[in-house]
Symmetry: C3
Subunit: 323 residues, 3 copies
């Protein structure tokens, strides 16, 4: 990230959300607090608002039907925005200029917020640097680097179940090296002063030594889960597991799959998280995924609430900036 | 269908709509009555409602742009719901568990109604069995088995033109063996006490003997159409007609195509129906499709009205169940 | 266009918009005036209206994510309509009849306005000839023939910057032969009484002699741009430039690309237009595209405003026709 870019406006309020890096913990706490206001009990109609009445939110996702796209679309609609979906992979354009032309064109249609998922590092910030002063850019997931709304919804989920971060032991397990989910979780938890962050992964899935500052690293899942309060499993891309033959999958599951037996080594009230979609029988057993300690579905609900909170916060910032 | 599954809630009201099998005729009549309230004259703006205000309807159709998907989307929007479209073929997932995970994920975003079209028998009921108590599932078409909203809109169409079912002769013609439209029409008409149901098809398109209880079977179209009040033509998949060479098509049309000459054998006021899309010149001649006895376009309008009625009924049921 | 088709209703008001050919200049001026009311300053929320409350607008575009589709969708939503998007290439159907069946089906769902982009000449008018009396058809771009909303937004853009058309010199540059944008610009400008229209193109991109009545033709860009008030560049399909090898592109750019040096030959206040998407370095240099004389992004904003004006006008016409 270059020195002169800030996600915040001149008032220090959220304008874009590209990364959790460097975000003020007070701002993160404010988002968590605001998101709690959008939660509802199952079977209740979700809270709605008028915060984005008259706004246009454009979702630019290369894959049209991801869950994250639907989550942002619903968050925008429930706050009164118009939402348009465009199947646009910005980074697939041949020349850098045309990315910006695409964005300028949409911006000229009075799009207020761009939600972008892209596989090329830096594209989302690149867009944020170029949009007009009133326009906001939110990352919907950037390569292996960053998935800030996921990091925030994970923090919200942990807080709802534990009350605080200071004394917590959080264990992240799996292909951490290639995971934007893990990176954003690390940033959120570090900002919130988590007690201890542990990384559990085989050698080739462990991140470089200069990443995940402050985290303890474990090759053994049994050791890394010992007395953990939160166990966050990552989705495994099957092709990452050597040849991904059935035996390789079984081997991975034996060493790094979360089973009931292994979960018993964590604290009794420990929660189990997963960003989805799950590979049952690979990184997590069905018994655990559907068990009483799993908060996996709740994460999805919290995701909509957190995205509503972010959108509402951005709308509030803009209104404050307006003359 | 397993014994312990019911589409109805504890009050005997509609919660899901997966099949017309076993549905109380009074309930079908109620839906027909309610749908009539959503009809409008051409050129009028269609009736709208607030019955689904705050609700989220998710359309899960493998093919993004089917007419049925659009019909459900418009029905939901006209009742005030948010509608999201997802190109999801549930049955294409590798493992059964992940179907449920997809549904649980969407449900966790506070989706209230799933409309699902799927080519794998049983998937839609499977989903309905697993969703939360406040969530409803509506079939948008299930393999060759069931298309309940089509059956109901066909019943509505027949009632609007004939006034009643008791003395009617209804003739269904074409590839009945592979037709969910025919199966759902049979169930609706049987429930409503239709006078006589006739099936007209060549040998290889005739259903098994234990299906379509009570219907009379004809190899000859000329005999089966004799004094019919309703002639319901089915869409022919061209690949079903032997080699589907032009000569095969002509041969099929000569034997099982509805022409003006053949229609003259039915009652003078007989109506002609087709679920669309039509193969003009194959199962139906243009002269008949566009003629004065055709109610084919009206079926489409009735489809939106019927889907609104079903959604409104489901919303009403849920409000009755709520404390 | 056949003699008996009119885009206007019996009151002489706009019902369809298929072409600008033969449109009363007073009507064009009225649309321009109305569109001005939908403009907003950057950073302001765009004006909204209730003109289409209860209406359904269906976008039938073969490519799902074009900018024009998004522009129409936003225009419809901002006037209160329901908007559905269908990926339908009407002309790709095997038989002519089925195009009409598709349209009749959608019309039967109470679609009020069809916006259609299609690559086959005549299809859009064909649809307009067949829809019911209360239904309107708007062209979103027809082969190389016509793009009327683009022609109108271009006229709006020119008027906003120059105040009038009588004394203007407008130069259109590029593959005019294959350009619907150029054809609709010609018709709008001719109707509004433009002072002088110039066409600049290499031999193989120049239209037939019987087209573009009244325009002056130039092989030399330097001559054609001399003292022009408006320079309208067209998008070049790279495959149109001989082999489109880099040398061909450079050659094209040298002869027909708009550079700052070339723009200096136009009037000092001349504006530069482009319908997008641009091929920077081919038909236009980045220096010019992003320079102070470029109104390219403004054209996009004007496009939404003009489409709102057209929709609102059509709604008004229909209300006048209604008893």
């Amino acid at each position: 990230m270059m020195q002169d870019f800030s996600q915040l406006d001149a008032n220090g309020r959220l304008r874009h959300l590209i990364t959790l890096e460097g975000l003020d913990p007070a701002l993160i706490r404010e988002l968590i607090e605001r998101a709690r206001g959008y939660l509802c009990r199952p079977g209740e109609l979700p809270p709605r608002g008028d915060d984005l009445r008259g706004w246009t939110v454009a979702n630019l996702f290369a894959e049209p039907s991801t869950r994250t796209r639907a989550s942002f679309e619903l968050a925008a609609l429930r706050l009164g925005a118009d939402a348009v979906n465009l199947d646009v992979m910005l980074s697939s354009r041949v020349k850098g200029e045309s990315i910006i032309d695409t964005i300028y064109t949409l911006q000229a249609m009075q799009v207020d917020v761009f939600v972008i998922r892209d596989a090329q590092p830096g594209i989302i910030e690149f867009v944020a640097r170029h949009v007009a002063g009133h326009v906001s850019v939110i990352s919907g997931g950037e390569a292996h680097i960053s998935h800030p709304t996921q990091g925030l919804l994970d923090a919200l989920t942990i807080q709802l179940h534990t009350g605080g971060f200071r004394d917590l032991v959080v264990t992240i397990v799996g292909d951490i090296r290639h995971s934007r989910v893990a990176r954003s979780a690390h940033r959120a938890l570090a900002a919130l002063g988590v007690g201890e962050l542990r990384l559990v992964a085989p050698e080739d899935m462990m991140p470089e030594p200069d990443e995940f500052a402050g985290a303890r690293r474990f090759r053994s899942f049994d050791e890394g889960i010992e007395l953990a309060d939160v166990v966050m499993m990552l989705r495994i891309q099957r092709e990452r597991i050597a040849g991904a033959a059935p035996t390789d999958v079984d081997h991975y599951h034996a060493l790094y799959g979360l089973t009931a037996a292994r979960l018993a080594r964590a604290r009794a009230q420990a929660i189990v998280m997963h960003p989805g979609p799950m590979n049952r029988g690979v990184e997590i057993s069905s018994e655990v995924a559907d068990g009483p300690q799993s908060v996996i579905r709740e994460q999805v609900s919290n995701g909509v609430a957190m995205r509503m909170a972010i959108l509402a916060q951005i709308a509030e910032s803009r209104r404050r900036r307006a003359p």
